[in-house]
Symmetry: C2
Subunit: 348 residues, 2 copies
């Protein structure tokens, strides 16, 4: 056995005895080089000779060495971690979003720290954690107060608002053109002679719901429709079900079209209309949603809706964020995508 190999296995033995993981110093010692050399060896484009690189790499593999990302982050001031914040109490369709974001970030060697918010205290906690963990950036798929957004700006942590934006002032955001989408839906309903409209909203504090309902209302007003009833749901299937059941059976007010703030509620409304009110969809009543959630396309439903281009929106969000991380001087950017009208079978 050569001296070289002897040294390697000695170090290896020592690490095992002490149950320690290999550090760059260990690799250096085993390979008979300096720690700097090991570091450079793992750095893209580091100034290092081929011979040295091979030698170090061989030892690194032997010892199971991988650079400690924590230590690296400390000195480089780059954690390669981004926070993704989603709002849990809304039934908007986030699962697919997470997968999509994860795919995009991983491609760039960036990792996702996931935060799910349920109440206000979660928000402040999240802000603290984001700060403590030195995340490089944040994707916000949750509604925050303006003062909470300031938290990021003050600390120059780049962030992108997903599916939301700020009305006043600049910020990075990726949204779907809600007004346009709702217009398509309303126009479609109007053209087929619907007269009495019910709007089924999301939770009162949801800006997304507000935006969508407002979009629909505006168009309805433009078309001089004023037979409108507004009912408050909370994005969930059961809220859609209950609200429509109550509206029609108890309040005895029967719309000929229901415009829902999201797809899942629309499915609830659909089931209530059919099962509870003995109505036929779309003969007696039409129903539309918004999102393009998977179940909306199932045979039993085939909901008429506007589908958000989730994949492109996720790509855009990641893109915008990564750009600001690389170059903090870039000005804010709002990217707006058009939704796709899906002609289902829940409208006349």
């Amino acid at each position: 056995m050569k001296d070289f190999e002897k040294q390697v296995s000695a170090v290896k033995q020592e690490l095992e005895d002490n149950k320690q993981r290999a550090t760059s110093y260990d690799v250096a010692r085993a390979a008979g080089v300096s720690q700097s050399a090991v570091s450079r060896c793992f750095k893209q484009g580091g100034s290092i000779s081929k011979k040295m690189r091979e030698r170090v790499q061989k030892v690194a593999v032997e010892l199971g060495y991988q650079p400690n990302a924590i230590a690296r982050s400390l000195i480089t001031r780059r954690s390669n971690i981004v926070a993704v914040v989603i709002n849990n109490n809304t039934n908007l369709y986030y699962p697919e979003l997470l997968v999509e974001l994860s795919r995009d970030f991983n491609k760039r060697g960036v990792h996702m720290l996931l935060f799910t918010l349920e109440n206000e205290s979660d928000v402040t906690n999240m802000l603290d954690q984001v700060w403590q963990y030195q995340v490089d950036g944040v994707i916000l798929a949750a509604q925050l107060k303006d003062t909470q957004l300031n938290f990021f700006s003050e600390r120059s942590i780049p962030f992108v608002y997903y599916n939301r934006t700020t009305e006043s002032g600049p910020c990075n955001s990726v949204t779907c053109d809600v007004a346009e989408g709702e217009r398509m839906l309303v126009d479609h309903l109007f053209k087929s002679k619907h007269k009495r409209f019910c709007l089924l909203t999301g939770p009162a504090d949801s800006a997304v719901s507000k935006k969508r309902m407002q979009g629909a209302l505006e168009r309805l007003h433009e078309l001089d429709v004023d037979d409108i009833q507004i009912v408050a749901g909370n994005y969930s299937y059961s809220s859609g079900y209950q609200q429509i059941k109550t509206l029609i059976l108890e309040h005895q007010w029967q719309p000929d079209a229901i415009i829902c703030a999201n797809d899942i509620m629309a499915l609830g409304a659909y089931d209530a209309a059919i099962k509870e009110c003995n109505l036929s969809v779309p003969k007696d009543i039409s129903i539309v949603g918004f999102d393009g959630a998977e179940p909306a396309s199932w045979q039993s439903y085939q909901l008429t809706t506007v589908s958000q281009p989730l994949e492109r929106m996720a790509d855009a969000a990641v893109d915008i964020l990564m750009q600001r991380i690389e170059n903090s001087a870039l000005p804010p950017e709002k990217r707006v995508f058009s939704g796709v009208f899906i002609k289902g079978k829940t409208c006349k």
Copy 2:
């Protein structure tokens, strides 16, 4: 202005000028104490006088200081980060799981690094990242090869298998008693005189599907049923739809009961039976699933299924993992939960 306040605002100014975030040294300097004191102040049960704590805290707030979690992790060898790995190409119901895990971990001040796997190279990449980021532990809601599991054991990274387990040898896992669940379903069908069974499986490489289908098969054999057809799906709604449509319309073999590897496929099967084959459920054909996914309970479906106690399972997984993180000497533990039979309306 007192000397004290003067010093604080001087430091604050300096940080702002250099666009630096406050460190414990800055706080120490501003408060006229040592860095050690600042550190102790932020440590639960640190040996520090009330007066000092208040003084430091006041300055910390003033400077917007929060301990740098990265630096802390480096010295404490505890990142307070766990990796959660989910398999993306299966349509099992993970979204709720993520929310549940997130809630539990956050309660304990632990954060989730999310990994979604799509192919084999994602796995090796994930393993490297887990190692590099010094995660304290791992929740595995994805199928891994034995050699890949060894990666964790060799490095003594605690991990918990979710919804899966190893047959041979010990490991931490949280599962639902699949055999028992399938037995309930089969028995239910058998009692109501079903004779011809179709099993609709998940993807061939899914251990979960294998387990579930095997459970159903075993019980069927015990009951001396042998009129069984096995059809391969992939957990998705559309695979369920297509496979059942094809089976009944083209192969002209009509079962009187379909046992699906998961709920979402069962819903596809349901729709295919009704819309494509003009059958009535449950009069002509019965359908059962497994999971307790949300859409299965919707009025249009009301699927008969076995529901997994997701919340308790998530709690258990977090619990087991955190225990092993605190105390690495604990022996492995397999926790098995019973599923809950949900008598829907898709069975005679």
